[in-house]
Symmetry: C2
Subunit: 415 residues, 2 copies
Amino acid sequence: MELNELGMRACEAKYQAAAVSEVKKNDVLKACAKALIEYNKDIISANDLDIKAAADNGISEGMQDRLRLNEKRIEAMAEGLEQIAQLSDPIGETIEEFDRPNGLHLKKVRVPLGVIGIIFESRPNVTADAFGLTFKTGNAVILKGGKEAINSNKAIVKILRQVLENEGLNPDILQLIEATDRETTVNFMKLKKYVDVLIPRGGAGLIRAVVENSNIPVIETGTGNCHVYIDKDADIEKAVPILINAKTQRISVCNAAESLVIHKDVAQDFLPILKKALDEKNVELRGDENVVRILGDSVIPATEEDYGTEYLDYILSMKTVDSVEEAIAHINKYNTHHSECIVTENNDTAEAFLNGVDAACVYVNASTRFTDGFEFGFGAEIGISTQKLHARGPMGLKELTSYKYKIYGNGQIRG
Amino acid sequence: MELNELGMRACEAKYQAAAVSEVKKNDVLKACAKALIEYNKDIISANDLDIKAAADNGISEGMQDRLRLNEKRIEAMAEGLEQIAQLSDPIGETIEEFDRPNGLHLKKVRVPLGVIGIIFESRPNVTADAFGLTFKTGNAVILKGGKEAINSNKAIVKILRQVLENEGLNPDILQLIEATDRETTVNFMKLKKYVDVLIPRGGAGLIRAVVENSNIPVIETGTGNCHVYIDKDADIEKAVPILINAKTQRISVCNAAESLVIHKDVAQDFLPILKKALDEKNVELRGDENVVRILGDSVIPATEEDYGTEYLDYILSMKTVDSVEEAIAHINKYNTHHSECIVTENNDTAEAFLNGVDAACVYVNASTRFTDGFEFGFGAEIGISTQKLHARGPMGLKELTSYKYKIYGNGQIRG
């Protein structure tokens, strides 16, 4: 189907999506969960085609694993939809309510964004997840998945659209772009006439392409060059587990730490202890002159590029500083405004760091790995915003909404 | 100065801007107000150059008037800064605060956006106004004004930067792009590395150019194709003044009405009454077949284009509908999501309209002209957002802020 046609259908469907009651939305989500399990064989055979094509195209085992769907993974998708059904519906909430001296009564009310576009990479589970979150918030959605997962995505979307239809709703509340060429993707980014917000989910390359090409308002998600700063007043008993957790608990995610910043006053004492723990996890170390001097030649000298790199690997850059101010300046120079941590027992230093560091989430004495919609108690997330407009940090249901002013008068005119 | 240099300076200044106390910000704003009046002769002689150039370039009297600054207008600019000093500072406010089962304590705190870019057209008073609002909210700002006002803008910015410096602050909190060529403007729209948000203020052409060219997140402001819908249950005593006020109280503004939608059941009775009132204001009428049939040949047949046009003139398009649903569909097809009004005494119809119409501000029995930061009680506004991301409707101080999460732990790591 042509993109404009898709856009028009989404625009038509969005008004219905916005008007579905909370009870009905939850029923539909539960029916979707059931249908995914009932028709899991359809999904698995479609997925087999994708896996076969991936193998034929020499795609890595790791990528193939991310692409693979089996009964258990489909159950997890279904469970995700069930969980979204349990969350309370933000739509219709009165955010503020006030009167003006002229008698006008104003209500600021939460409404859907309208049509949300989501561009994502290989994982086909995002399809059901993105539908669940956007549907629960009264939005219509147009999905553009990675071409490696096209058969899986088509099978999942077919099942979910069938449920929408069975439930008496417009199936165009959920649409998938089936063309997989690059030109279609770029044209999708320019569909401002029909799409209210575009959310890319994927690596730095995808995000950059969307930001450069889109004329639709974009919410940037994802890239995380996160730091752990160990202050001169740090408790080493806390510093070691926090650094190890932030760096190695899961290396491929955006809230993993990529860089250690450490105060010079404690570098001599703490670095050997930290190195021992990092060595156990086989983390490659790249440090500045001071670090190399203290830890010896097993540490690779760090370059400017290291400080700006999100490794997503068992690699850690290391930098010594003279003060918390220098730590803040270093982090603000190289970070991606995602998640940053200070380890310190000094409250004043902690507050200076919390205020000075420019990031969505700033931690005192806790791992950066907590930046996550579930960990924040939002119950779900569509991604982690690294921009400052609209939403920052983990984006749950509320962050998929906008607001409008309803204004009640009795004949007021402006003088 | 080169744009990159400007961007780097703004980025350096933004951290200081974010840390200035409320008391100090208010002192600086008052000092700026005083300085504008003290040095008004400098502004007026710079403005004379702009006015002379405008006259030489055959710019219309109306435009020249918008460009002109005199003692009284400079006083108004100063008063605007004084007023901003009176508003309470949103920065640092705790928006939400909650604990997690693992003991993490989260604070969602209001912070500045960072560096705001503002591109505006001829009125030089925007310069002081935009500085006041962005400074009060802890942001650094880069301004790009219209080339017609370049000398005036330079004079105003010079005075304000001098005050910043006298007050011991980094003057780069406020910067003006002095180059007036189109290429510089387009390059400014691509300064994502340094600018967090770009706000265009001006006509539809400017807004479109920014949306098409910018890779910085944009807040769209301004264009308003606003409707008044007169329902079958309308009170004509309210309908006439609301329509006349919305259409004619000030024709050149974005919250002025451009189109009348009227229920067929009352068209025969109400249209002649409305026409009489509109004739008194010399409003040209363009109506559909029904309107022409009822009101006769003095009404020009309306085209599709009429329904999509923001006239900003004494012209009104008119459309008859069979139901509130048809009114909503018509408005959602042609509007710019700015401000819409229903005149009705029926509460159910009013709620259907409030819920169904996709606009920032939807009115029952009141003029669309109230969509304004001052009228909403925000004390000031930087513009009226017509997009759904971040801010919708009048944007006051709060809408020039973002937030961050401060997270307090005692050694938590993720399992």
